[in-house]
């Protein structure tokens, strides 16, 4: 199935007149000497011959094979993303067992100009892991060995296909905390996390993967395997190439192994869910948290009123008694002139001394209560209650997805102006006569990262012109405040077209040059990332 009208590797080439070098390089990503192709039956036979477990590793759904309904159904799952907005047309899924198999596959695809889409847990929200066309899907799921964790440095080494939750459990058993934590941890894989530079709940405390990844093994487009040191934390010898792959979304190389430095497992954890009447109060909470909780503060998450209502309706009963208790705050004014909406803040602390941490938490809550920055709140006093409070936060995304069609945005905004964007978007939507839309905002407020989800309740289809109008409204509101249109979800397919508008020409040129250096035949994840 050829997609018409999209500027990508597959569309017909214009013959370009001679231009200055800079222009030629800018167009490099969508102009190449030879077109990419999808896999053929000969390719499938070749793969079957070089892989150690061909029955497991080669999932061939092409009509020329005797593909059973089971195989076709299975391939279909790989071809759709989590949001169900992106559908690829791949007929071939490869599931390599080792790095050398990945290398052989890529070498062959490089020589034969066959496009490859790497895929981890398929939990991405920008269509980055879904084939653009008929590319081979390279699933890393079978490469899921955890090798070891160093008891002194906390450096955990594992395959890229390891599921994040398993890494958490393994680290915990050994007295460490895996520094990355996101809602999809039950399914997402670390290779994908690294390739998208995932942020998550504990970004505030432990920082970005750019800091915590200390080593990596990557297979380049031509099959060459690149390894960077993985047993020490500090290594200033040469350009830190691994940084390029973090967040490159599989366009520069395929991550096959990762080494991540894990902090010691904190033994004392506290979680509170607070209710504020206004964003100014939320800012008080943020500042007070930094002052009173200090070094033990590990996460601050915001959830707005619209979102909480969806969580209560569609959230599978998570903490329902808790939500009912907190969903009748006096702040919901019946006076239409005074529209107030409560804002919920989850605050988590992690430290190593239960007594002093509880004292800090107590002093934090007392300050807030006495200054009236919070109207109400609950403090979890055992693990079960902590999990329930986090479950409320983690069910925000699935709850709105169950409610209707969601226009998803993941933006960075200066903290002071965080809620202004949602308020402005709401106003503009009404001005444009776009009704029946709920603007739901939740996110990592301490990082200035807002997940703005605009939901058309009860309707599950996308209307292209509405979608475009909404995108324009949200992005212009963010850009005028000098924010970012993709804080942590990445570019994938969904935000590619905006890069030209928000990035300098010089930056785009260099990005293209880097892409050409690492992947001169442009086989890695075509149709994504580079405009």
């Amino acid at each position: 199935m050829i997609r018409l009208g999209r500027l990508c590797n597959y569309s017909n080439r214009r013959i370009l007149p001679l231009r200055p070098l800079s222009s030629i390089l800018r167009y490099a990503s969508n102009h190449q000497s030879r077109k990419l192709r999808g896999p053929t039956t000969q390719d499938v036979s070749y793969f079957r011959s070089i892989l150690s477990r061909p029955d497991r590793s080669v999932l061939d759904g092409s009509s020329s094979s005797t593909a059973s309904q089971d195989v076709t159904d299975e391939i279909a799952k790989y071809n759709v993303d989590w949001t169900k907005k992106y559908r690829g047309s791949s007929d071939l899924v490869l599931r390599p067992q080792t790095t050398s198999e990945v290398s052989s596959i890529l070498q062959y695809c490089h020589e034969n100009y066959i496009g490859i889409t790497p895929q981890g847990g398929n939990t991405g929200l920008c269509g980055g892991a879904t084939p653009y066309n008929t590319e081979i899907i390279l699933s890393m799921e079978d490469m899921d060995r955890i090798y070891c964790i160093d008891e002194y440095s906390g450096i955990l080494t594992c395959d890229a296909g390891c599921i994040l939750q398993n890494l958490h459990s393994y680290a915990e058993e050994n007295g460490f905390l895996f520094p990355l934590d996101i809602g999809s941890k039950g399914s997402c894989q670390i290779g994908g996390n690294v390739s998208t530079n995932a942020g998550g709940h504990h970004f505030f405390r432990f920082g970005s993967l750019h800091g915590t990844v200390v080593g990596m093994e990557v297979v380049l487009a031509n099959g060459r395997v690149l390894r960077s040191s993985a047993s020490v934390r500090k290594d200033n010898t040469g350009y830190d190439l691994k940084q390029l792959f973090i967040g490159a979304e599989g366009t520069l190389g395929i991550v096959t192994k990762v080494a991540i430095a894990c902090p010691a497992l904190p033994t004392s954890k506290n979680v509170v869910l607070l209710v504020c009447n206004s964003y100014d109060d939320v800012l008080s909470v943020l500042q007070t948290a930094k002052e009173e909780l200090g070094e033990i503060l590990s996460a601050i998450e915001l959830i707005d009123w619209n979102t909480m209502q969806f969580v209560q309706r569609f959230g599978n009963g998570f903490g329902s008694s808790l939500i009912s208790e907190l969903l009748t705050p006096k702040s919901i004014s019946s006076d239409p002139a005074k529209k107030q909406s409560p804002l919920y803040i989850l605050v988590e602390s992690q430290g190593c001394d239960q007594v002093s941490d509880s004292a800090k938490m107590d002093s934090f809550l007392t300050s807030l209560y006495e200054s009236s920055a919070i109207e109400n709140g609950v403090l979890a006093h055992d693990s079960k209650q902590m999990e329930e409070i986090w479950a409320i936060r983690e069910s925000c995304n699935p709850s709105v997805a169950s409610a209707g069609f969601v226009h998803k945005f993941d933006v960075s905004i200066p903290i002071e102006m965080y809620i202004e964007v949602s308020e402005e978007v709401e106003k503009h939507l009404q001005d444009e006569n776009l009704h029946d839309l709920s603007v739901c905002t939740w996110g990592h407020v301490a990082d200035g990262n807002a997940h703005i989800n605009i939901v058309s309740s009860g309707q599950f289809h996308k209307h292209d012109d509405t979608a475009e109008k909404i995108e324009n409204i949200v992005y212009s509101s963010v850009m005028k405040r000098k924010g970012s249109i993709s804080a942590e979800h990445g570019i994938g397919q969904s935000k590619r077209k905006y890069l030209k508008q928000i990035k300098d020409d010089g930056v785009l040129e260099l990005m293209s040059q880097i892409k050409m250096t690492f992947d001169p035949h442009l086989i890695l994840n075509p149709g994504k990332y580079i405009p």
Binding site: D55, E173, T267, E325, Q354, V355, T366, D382
Partner: protein
């Protein structure tokens, strides 16, 4: 109803991975740097007491026996709605997880405290603690007090005449017992399905700070109650050995149904 007593136990949090140090023998379970919380069944007991208080205006007293950190556990009960607390403070090296203090000692102390309090109508306990899993403190206390008792309560109703109607879940079905009002106090132990413990909310957390907690050392309490300290601290049962269960063996990945069948036959699991 005038007064409800709720003993609460501070135990290793249910979600923690238990570590056993084999070199420490019977005291192998590590308690250092491990998250502790109120025993989940005790939480249910506190919740039930608060619900009864809301209906009958009774006073709810939370009691805990353990090291100084137990005041935290009592504060949680106060934040849920209990009115005051009694903390019988033990020396830091005295273990409550069956090594030093065992149900007999606790039940003897609680009996004394019940009599010391005077006017207690009901004692609500968790059916068992998740560290020692004995389930004996409630029944022993009832025996010592000659009190009517119902264990594993899944529903409790307080009658206007001071009686308690308790539903218990058994293998044969639901059993309903009435504890008549003529004998006071009554002892009821609480099971999982009795209720869902509430979260302490901010206004109650703040109020809890002002509520009174009486702290009295184990030695002083024992003296006051006329018990023998040695008797209390010498366990009736000796823990002989503590070890971690053997780790689960990893499963095997097979490539096809035939391979699976072959393996099952090999292991003699299928004919």
């Amino acid at each position: 109803m005038k007064k409800i007593l709720v003993p609460v136990k501070r135990v290793i949090d249910y979600a923690q991975k238990i570590r056993v140090d084999p070199s420490k023998g019977a005291e192998g379970v590590q308690l250092k740097n491990v998250k502790m919380s109120m025993n989940p069944f005790c939480e249910i007991a506190v919740e039930e007491a608060i619900q009864l208080k809301e209906k009958t205006k009774a006073e709810v007293v939370a009691i805990s026996v353990g090291p100084k950190q137990c005041t935290e556990t009592i504060r949680t009960a106060l934040a849920m709605g209990a009115d005051r607390g009694i903390h019988v403070e033990t020396k830091p090296d005295v273990r409550g997880d069956y090594i030093n203090l065992q149900p007999w000692a606790i039940a003897s102390l609680l009996k004394g405290i019940v009599e010391r309090e005077d006017g207690v109508d009901l004692i609500l306990l968790g059916k068992q603690s998740i560290d020692s899993d004995c389930g004996q403190t409630g029944p022993l206390l009832a025996g010592l007090l000659n009190a009517p008792q119902a264990t594993f309560a899944a529903k409790i109703e307080a009658g206007d005449d001071g009686s308690f109607t308790v539903e218990r879940e058994t293998d044969a079905g639901t059993e309903t017992i009435k504890l008549n009002s003529s004998v006071k106090p009554a002892v009821i132990t609480c099971d999982l399905r009795l209720n869902t413990p509430r979260y302490p909310t901010m206004p109650n957390i703040m109020k809890a700070k002002k509520k009174k907690v009486e702290t009295i050392s184990l030695e002083d309490m024992v003296k006051e109650l006329g018990l023998d300290l040695d008797e209390v601290l010498t366990p009736k049962n000796e823990v002989v050995e503590v070890y971690e269960p053997p780790p689960r063996k990893e499963g095997e990945l097979v490539g096809s149904i035939d391979e699976l069948l072959g393996k099952l036959k090999e292991k003699g699991l299928v004919a």
